[in-house]
């Protein structure tokens, strides 16, 4: 009879300790994130594309880095450059820590966006920005994976066409886990705050 009683006591004390530490957690930081927390609601980073150097890449190539995934296209003169310019400002504010962050600009217009054009494009914004393109089916699968719909408008007489695309920026930790969702209208300081938190706490948490 002595052993079960001891065991029960041990379980009780563990539960109490756990309860206390949980309460402490909630008390100190009920919600540390300023952007939208998507942990557990979006799948891990997974892709099989070609980068702007013409190299085949997968999500494994970005393990160890925080990844900012954004869908766009180079013939988008207004919103895409605005978003990338804002991400550049965020990277500047992160200082040297930005070396642990990569901007992954995935083209939803692979017909026009060759690795060479993508390279010139992303390099004009930030040295830590990577342009990604690939087979149309692969890109479509990726956008569906993150529910980032896009569509190509009917072509015009001069051969030009326009593309609609999601404006969200999906943030993955160094282990490729989906963590946060930002929109271009979120203040840059919110993203700086959350990225610093992700960088400081490490990716495992």
């Amino acid at each position: 009879m002595k052993r079960p009683r001891l065991a029960r006591l041990a379980v009780l004390s563990i539960m109490l300790a756990a309860g206390l530490s949980l309460a402490a957690c909630q008390h100190e930081s009920p919600q540390p994130w300023q952007l939208t927390d998507i942990a557990g609601h979006m799948p891990d980073l997974a892709l099989s594309l070609t980068d702007d150097q013409g190299k085949a890449v997968t999500a494994a190539d970005y393990r160890g880095k925080i990844a900012l995934l954004y869908f766009g296209y180079t013939h988008c003169p207004d919103v895409c450059p605005l978003t990338l310019a804002q991400l550049h400002v965020v990277m500047q504010k992160l200082g040297t820590a930005a070396d642990h962050v990569r901007i992954l600009f995935v083209s939803v217009d692979p017909t026009r966006d060759t690795p060479a054009i993508l390279h010139a494009y992303v390099a004009a914004f930030d040295p830590r920005a990577v342009g990604l393109t690939g087979a149309a089916a692969e890109i479509e699968a990726l956008t569906k994976r993150y529910r980032a719909a896009f569509s190509r408008e009917p072509g015009k007489a001069d051969g030009s066409y326009e593309v609609s695309h999601s404006s969200g920026i999906y943030i993955f930790d160094a282990n490729g886990k989906a963590r946060l969702l930002a929109t271009p209208t979120d203040p840059q300081d919110k993203m700086v705050h959350d990225l610093q938190l992700l960088l400081n706490t490490g990716s495992g948490t």
Binding site: V79, A85, A124
Partner: protein, 151 residues
């Protein structure tokens, strides 16, 4: 009365008439005109703040430039699902005694096919065309792709 006085009287007398027939462009002043320059001859975006000092609205209908073969008035918009769209628009109104802006993520001039290579720091002249046929030449400053706005 000297010839000079007569001339002044004549000009002063004509002022109300001139004002009555003021063109839209003569009432509008442009400021903070800039272009986000993109690499690889990709289409760029032109932005400008417009102020209308006139008593009636001015309507921007198009723009043209000797440097860019293609200049289109566009508008970016975002729907409830966060989808971004860019559409050509026929006109943009600048209210009487008010302002309107071509600014990132809103109205902008989509600029394509430059006649020669451009670099940040250069300026490009673009003429704004108004509904009454009047025109307003504006000098746009070229800024790098990753330029922040506001500066």
């Amino acid at each position: 009365m000297s010839m000079r006085c007569l001339l002044i009287l004549l000009i002063v007398g004509m002022l109300p008439i001139a004002n009555l027939h003021a063109t839209q462009s003569s009432q509008v002043t442009a400021s903070h005109a800039w272009i986000r320059l993109l690499p690889a001859n990709l289409p760029a975006s032109g932005y400008v703040n417009l102020h209308n000092a006139g008593a009636s609205a001015a309507t921007l209908v198009s723009a043209h430039s000797a440097v860019y073969a293609s200049v289109m008035l566009h508008q970016s918009s975002m729907d409830a699902h966060g989808m971004n769209n860019m559409t050509a628009v026929a006109q943009m109104s600048i209210p009487a005694h008010g302002s309107a802006s071509l600014a990132p993520a809103g109205y902008h001039l989509m600029l394509g096919q430059p006649s020669h290579p451009l670099k940040p720091g250069d300026t490009v002249d673009i003429t704004l065309d108004f509904a009454d046929g009047s025109q307003l030449p504006v000098s746009f400053l070229l800024r790098p792709a990753n330029a922040a706005d506001p500066e």
